[in-house]
């Protein structure tokens, strides 16, 4: 994780397309011009980085009905670049991106974080009408 920690330090307070990436303790926060925010987490698994963000909690997922929600988000996956949506092992609706750790660079990392935050924030608004994360 050393490489990414270094990169994350560099991109703290980076501005991209009317939003800021802030490096918080243990996670990133992307702040949009509208005032909305989205939290992004990054894990290392084998040779990959996984960037992910929670959209709906497990209780909200249950409210919607899991199967209906899965159909909806898989349909949306077809229309969405880079970001994938799924119900994770903890039964939360999350958005995620996985990329090779070895080759990722600063510019790519900013792009992945921004597009992940943007897509997840939009879906969160559409499903809840609120800014939950």
């Amino acid at each position: 994780m050393k490489k990414i920690e270094k990169l994350l330090k560099e991109i703290n307070n980076e501005r991209i397309d009317h939003s800021f990436i802030r490096n918080r303790n243990g996670h990133l926060s992307v702040e949009f011009l509208s005032g909305r925010q989205q939290r992004i987490f990054i894990d290392r698994k084998d040779k990959y980085y996984k960037m992910w963000s929670v959209i709906l909690s497990n209780s909200k997922v249950e409210e919607f009905g899991e199967v209906k929600l899965i159909q909806n988000i898989w349909n949306k996956n077809r229309q969405t670049d880079v970001v994938g949506f799924c119900i994770d092992k903890k039964n939360r609706l999350i958005g995620s991106i996985q990329q090779l750790a070895e080759t990722i660079d600063r510019e790519e990392l900013i792009f992945y974080i921004h597009i992940l935050a943007k897509e997840c924030d939009r879906l969160e608004y559409l499903f809840s009408g609120k800014d939950l994360n």
Partner: protein, 1189 residues
């Protein structure tokens, strides 16, 4: 930060001429317009393009949009077209602009596919807009203005429930069902909360918004609230806000007679304050100040034709007939006798009494008195209810007898205030004299139009009263019948005349009983039913409209050799020798005419003639079996089988390289490769001799030089054969469809009857033996007609051929070079169901419109306002008749503008001339009776038209006519004066300002623009390396940016390498392709690997699949709902950024491996299958094709 750009920068990006030198002048105007508007929008956030009708405003606006996007990839645009047909047109133009006018693949505007690199969602209503916004906001959206109307008749509860279903968290109490106005506003605010923010809104035909927020129509208010007008701020909707930054308005007629119309449009989008001086229509003295304000945001250019050394602006090459007559220019309609004068006098008295009634206060709505159009009973023809998924396009009150009835709110006026009185008189007259009350204007118009049956000239007739569409058509159909009957009486053989008389009588009887009913189904139809996409020729059962549609279409009457039966049973029946009449003979095209074709083929391919004969028969049989399971061997199919066999043989064995190349091209474009399967031909499979030298109309036409040059030019041997062959096939199929389905069919049938000498169906089999005779007779007739200099079969076929490129571009953009087999079907559908006269009301029948854009039927199109905007009707028509007058100059201009556009018949006719005669101009008729109150409305409209011209061009004079009502007491006392058209050359008051073009600014390149060449080179090198390192089966490539193939998965964990043996491994298809990320300056390498289908009934597997996917931990599962077969198509997809400087082969390999292995694991565990690529190939090719999806 969005910046202004210079014209040279724009020139590097856009080529408006598309490489056509003839378009360079207009292309420069469009480029200047795009740059100027772009720069106005950067500075002011609102701009108006008011170029004259037909100058390509759509393309100019698309240029503006593309320039913004190119330099700002995240730039998002909302397009609003007036209605469905224009919305579809915008979509088409957007694809055309991207392909033909945007110069380079930059992956921001133009993708590797030559299609828009950004997404576009075209929505048929606001709910769909919401739905699409929830699926993907990173696109542009294309809406229609009618979607904002939300008719009161709609079920509000249903509308609310639909919305709640889309937005789960929406509090339904926010949408109060008991107050409809409140509901509409809140509905709009909810939509505003969901939709994305747009950088630019482009509104086409924005004069529709000229009454602004004060309009009676709630549509304007709903639109402004959806976009977040300040006036809609509301605590109940905390997310309500302005959802756009800039607006570009488009209309050739931005105002009627008052600058306040401009202010209203701009204010609707919240920019009114910055041009508030235009709001006050009273202050007329400051015209120059207003012009200056307008000139800061509005651009208008005018079109002109150079004739000799003089420039003719539109007003000069349009010859207006303002005195009402139709036969002599500047003459009035003369009433033919005392009786008609008395009738007109009586009607006028009644109309004056009605208008004088205190209810109407001596006034009436322009164009909305029934008596101006007809004295017949005004019954209502209402549009059938539209598809519930689409918005109601007409949005008219049910009680209206007129189009565009939102001109007034009064139901009485909508019905026509004189309607009841006129109906009474008409009824009384009919009871007394047993005939309909004559209407001098209608009689004169139909009388003057009937000459088109001799000349073939087209006319476009606009009416206001819906019932007039029927009445005018009826009169014209009767004139047509008289014309056709006279022609047939003259040309039929004596022996056939008695039977023909009986048939004609039968037609008259049937017509009497069925005509009116059939009219309603023919004319008053929905758009949804009339796109012509699914109807085949076989569906044409004929119509009872006129003798042509009854006798020459469908099956025709029973027991008679009719035009219809000749077409169905001979020309269109595979078993008849006539089925090849309009085909080509490809072997002859390759080889030329040889006395012994078989020996010649044997010689040039090095085969023995006897062996060759056997081979061709076997090949032809194999070809036949590939295309048919029939045990019979119909003539046309066998003919094509032999054609295919010969072409195939020549392509494989010909020693002459030129002929071999020709055969290869024809085989690739027309046939499939024949696979001999060892099966011997059945004994009764016809022998070679009958089919090798079949003569067709085209093979014989080519022998007559003085005809073929004009109808079917020979292939130019100096040009590329493939290009020439494609053009020849397109032309042949088009000529064939025209000859079989339109007016020329009459002559062909007459020739067939002349050889039979009867029209009795029992004898029609005899016609089979006269095939060659008929071809020669037909060619002789064409030869004779060529010298007649009249409208006839020759003139129609040669006119189609002469204007072939124009017809294909305008009418058949869907025709592709690589699918010649579909040509016959495309043309067949487009040209089926022809009629000499057509009517249009309630909706647009696109097929009839397409036919009107070609030579031949329909010659006359009678229409309400439905064709007023968006449809091009200019290619072969230069006469327009304003039978029912619109009340405002913009509608009049829009109507005339339908036939006055770039490449119009008039433009083509006049552009290279040195001098011109009056009758070569566009003829614009305003038929009216001078001694009636109709004169008042016509004069009012003329005055307003003149005023509009003065306001938009240099010298401006102001008079105030901003009401659609006429006060008859006042107007009748004013001395009559002729309102002549303005005929001096026009000069726009609002040209492009030179300083907006930034001519001296430096060339700027987008920092976002990707280097397409480098990207494709890298893609090619990584895919080559994949082939070297992995065990792969590669499918035929269809382009440079995609790669489709099959990998092999070993132990469910990795891909098989090139040198490994495939032992118990599974196969897994995949597709890799390049795409741009909308809103970012990035290229992705996208990988798709299909899993398979699961039926709706296996819904439980969805959760299982999600859990499995979590365990595997890579790629996203994607689903396409395939409603037709009630199943979901599932796939795994993933992407990586693709950059020529930083992407490494290992990343691509990793992407492919993980995607394919994940998909294969899920397929195995979930479906227990190992499907080969064939099951998915079609959808994989569609994904990387360049169709409009």
């Amino acid at each position: 930060m969005i910046q202004e750009i210079g014209i040279e920068t724009a020139r590097n990006l856009i080529d408006y001429s598309g490489g056509d030198e003839r378009l360079e002048e207009i292309a420069e105007q469009q480029l200047q317009g795009a740059v100027a508007l772009h720069n106005i929008l950067v500075k002011k956030n609102f701009a108006y393009l008011a170029d004259e009708v037909g100058m390509g405003k759509t393309y100019t606006a698309l240029g503006v949009a593309a320039l913004f996007k190119h330099f700002n990839p995240e730039f998002r645009i909302l397009y609003i077209a007036p209605r469905q047909n224009i919305q579809e047109k915008w979509k088409k133009e957007l694809f055309n602009f991207t392909k033909k006018n945007w110069r380079a693949v930059d992956n921001i505007i133009k993708s590797f596919k030559d299609t828009p690199a950004y997404g576009l969602s075209s929505c048929s209503n606001l709910l769909e807009f919401i739905h699409q916004s929830t699926i993907n906001i990173n696109r542009d959206f294309l809406l229609r203005l009618t979607s904002f109307s939300l008719p009161l008749s709609d079920n509000l509860r249903k509308k609310r429930d639909e919305l709640v279903n889309e937005i789960n968290w929406l509090d339904s109490s926010a949408l109060n069902l008991y107050d409809k106005d409140d509901f509409k506003k809140n509905y709009a605010k909810v939509i505003n909360s969901i939709i994305p923010h747009f950088d630019l809104v482009i509104v086409d035909e924005s004069h529709n918004l000229k009454h602004g927020l004060k309009s009676n129509a709630s549509r304007n208010q709903v639109l402004s609230l959806v976009l977040g007008h300040d006036s809609g701020a509301d605590k109940r909707f905390p997310d309500y806000k302005k959802k756009f930054d800039r607006v570009l308005l488009l209309s050739a007629t931005p105002l009627e007679n008052d600058y306040v119309h401009l202010w209203n449009q701009v204010d609707l989008f919240g920019f009114g304050e910055s041009i508030k001086e235009l709001k006050n229509s009273e202050s007329d003295s400051d015209g120059e100040v207003k012009d200056k304000i307008i000139g800061d945001f509005l651009i208008r250019r005018i079109n002109g034709l150079h004739i000799g050394d003089k420039l003719y602006t539109k007003n000069m090459y349009r010859r207006e007939w303002r005195h009402g007559g139709l036969t002599n220019h500047d003459h009035v309609i003369e009433l033919p006798d005392e009786k008609q004068r008395m009738i007109v006098g009586l009607i006028q008295k009644k109309v004056s009494e009605v208008i004088g009634n205190e209810k109407f206060n001596n006034s009436f709505q322009i164009g909305m008195l029934s008596s101006f159009e007809s004295f017949l009973q005004t019954s209502k023809y209402r549009k059938k209810s539209t598809d519930s998924n689409n918005d109601n396009e007409t949005n008219q009150d049910d009680k209206s007898n007129f189009d565009n009835s939102d001109q007034t709110e009064s139901n009485l006026e909508k019905e026509g205030i004189d309607t009841p009185s006129i109906d009474k008189i008409a009824d009384s007259y009919y009871r007394k004299f047993n005939q309909s009350l004559p209407h001098p204007k209608m009689d004169q118009v139909s009388n003057s139009l009937k000459k088109c049956f001799d000349t073939g000239e087209k006319s476009l007739v606009f009416v206001r009263r819906v019932a007039s569409v029927y009445e005018l058509q009826e009169k014209l159909n009767k004139f047509y019948d008289m014309w056709l009957k006279a022609k047939l009486d003259r040309e039929l053989p004596e022996s056939a005349k008695e039977k023909f008389e009986e048939v004609y009588q039968q037609y008259l009887n049937e017509r009497k009983s069925k005509r009116k009913l059939s009219f309603v189904s023919e004319t008053l139809q929905d758009d949804s039913e009339n796109n012509g996409s699914s109807k085949s020729l076989e569906d044409d059962k004929g119509e009872i409209s006129n003798f042509f549609t009854w006798f020459f279409r469908g099956f025709g009457p029973e027991g008679v050799f009719s035009g219809g039966s000749f077409n169905k049973n001979r020309l269109n029946s595979e078993g008849s020798v006539y089925s090849t009449l309009f085909e080509d003979n490809y072997s002859r095209l390759i080889l030329g005419e040889e006395s012994n074709t078989l020996d010649y083929i044997a010689k040039i391919t090095g085969w023995d003639s006897r062996e060759l004969s056997k081979l061709l028969r076997r090949s032809a049989y194999a070809s036949f079996k590939m295309s048919s399971k029939s045990q019979k061997f119909p003539f046309k199919r066998v003919y094509f089988s032999y054609q295919e066999a010969i072409v195939n043989h020549l392509a494989n064995h010909c020693k002459n390289e030129i002929l071999k190349n020709k055969a290869s091209v024809i085989r690739r474009l027309r046939f499939k490769s024949i696979q001999l399967n060892g099966e011997l031909p059945k004994d009764n499979f016809p022998s070679f001799d009958k089919f090798i030298d079949v003569k067709t109309f085209f093979t014989e036409l080519e022998k007559r030089e003085n005809l073929t040059d004009y109808i079917f030019p020979l292939i130019n041997e100096n040009e590329n054969f493939e290009v020439e062959f494609i053009k020849r096939e397109k032309r042949r199929e088009l000529i064939s469809a025209v000859a079989r389905l339109g007016h020329p069919m009459i002559d062909l049938w007459l020739l067939a009857v002349k050889t039979l000498k009867t029209i009795d169906s029992k004898t029609q089999d005899r016609v089979e033996g006269r095939y060659h005779l008929l071809i020669q007779d037909y060619l002789d007739l064409l030869q004779q007609q060529k010298n007649d200099n009249q409208w006839n079969t020759y003139s129609e076929l040669s006119n189609v051929s002469k204007n072939f490129d124009l017809i294909i571009t305008i009418n058949f953009p869907e025709v592709k070079d690589d699918d010649l087999v579909s040509l016959s079907k495309i043309y067949g559908i487009a040209l089926s169901k022809q009629s000499p006269v057509r009517g249009m009301a309630g909706g647009v029948n696109k097929n009839f419109v397409r036919q009107f854009r070609m030579p031949g039927y329909p010659l006359i199109m009678v229409t309400t306002e439905v064709l007023q905007e968006g449809e091009d009707l200019h290619t072969f028509c230069s006469n327009i008749i304003h039978y029912g007058i619109a009340w405002n100059p913009s509608s009049m201009e829009q109507r005339t503008g339908r036939i006055d556009r770039i490449h119009s018949l008039t433009h083509r006719r006049l552009n290279k001339k040195v001098s011109v005669k009056d009758d070569e101009f566009i003829q614009v008729y305003y038929p009216h009776l001078r001694d009636t109150v109709e004169l008042l409305q016509v004069e009012r409209v003329f005055e307003k038209m003149n005023k509009f011209i003065r306001m938009m061009h240099q010298t401006i004079k102001r008079e105030n006519f901003n009401t659609s009502k006429i006060d008859t007491n006042r107007e009748l006392l004013v001395s009559r004066k002729d309102i002549d058209p303005i005929t001096e050359p026009l000069e726009s008051s609002f040209p492009v300002k030179e300083e907006l073009l930034l001519r001296n600014s430096e060339l700027v390149e987008s920092e976002h623009s990707a280097d397409a060449g480098k990207i494709l080179k890298l893609f090619d090198s990584v895919t080559q390396r994949l082939k070297n390192e992995l065990k792969l089966i590669t499918e035929n490539s269809i382009n440079l940016y995609s790669y489709i193939g099959t990998c092999y998965v070993k132990n469910g964990a990795r891909l098989l390498r090139y040198d490994e043996i495939c032992d118990e491994c599974r196969n897994q298809p995949f597709e890799l392709y390049l795409k741009s990320v909308v809103g970012y300056n990035k290229i992705l390498l996208h990988c798709v690997s299909p899993i398979g289908k699961i039926g709706y009934q296996h819904n439980n597997k969805i959760k299982e699949l999600n859990n499995m996917s979590n365990k595997i931990g890579f790629g996203k599962i994607c689903l396409v709902d395939n409603e037709k077969i009630k199943s979901y198509d599932l796939s795994i997809e993933a992407d990586i950024l693709f950059h020529p400087d930083s992407t490494q082969f290992e990343e691509v390999l990793d992407l492919l491996e993980r995607t394919v292995v994940s998909a294969d694991n899920l397929e195995k565990k979930l479906l227990g299958k190992d499907e080969p690529i064939n099951s998915f190939l079609d959808s994989l090719f569609v994904e990387v094709g360049n169709e409009e999806n």
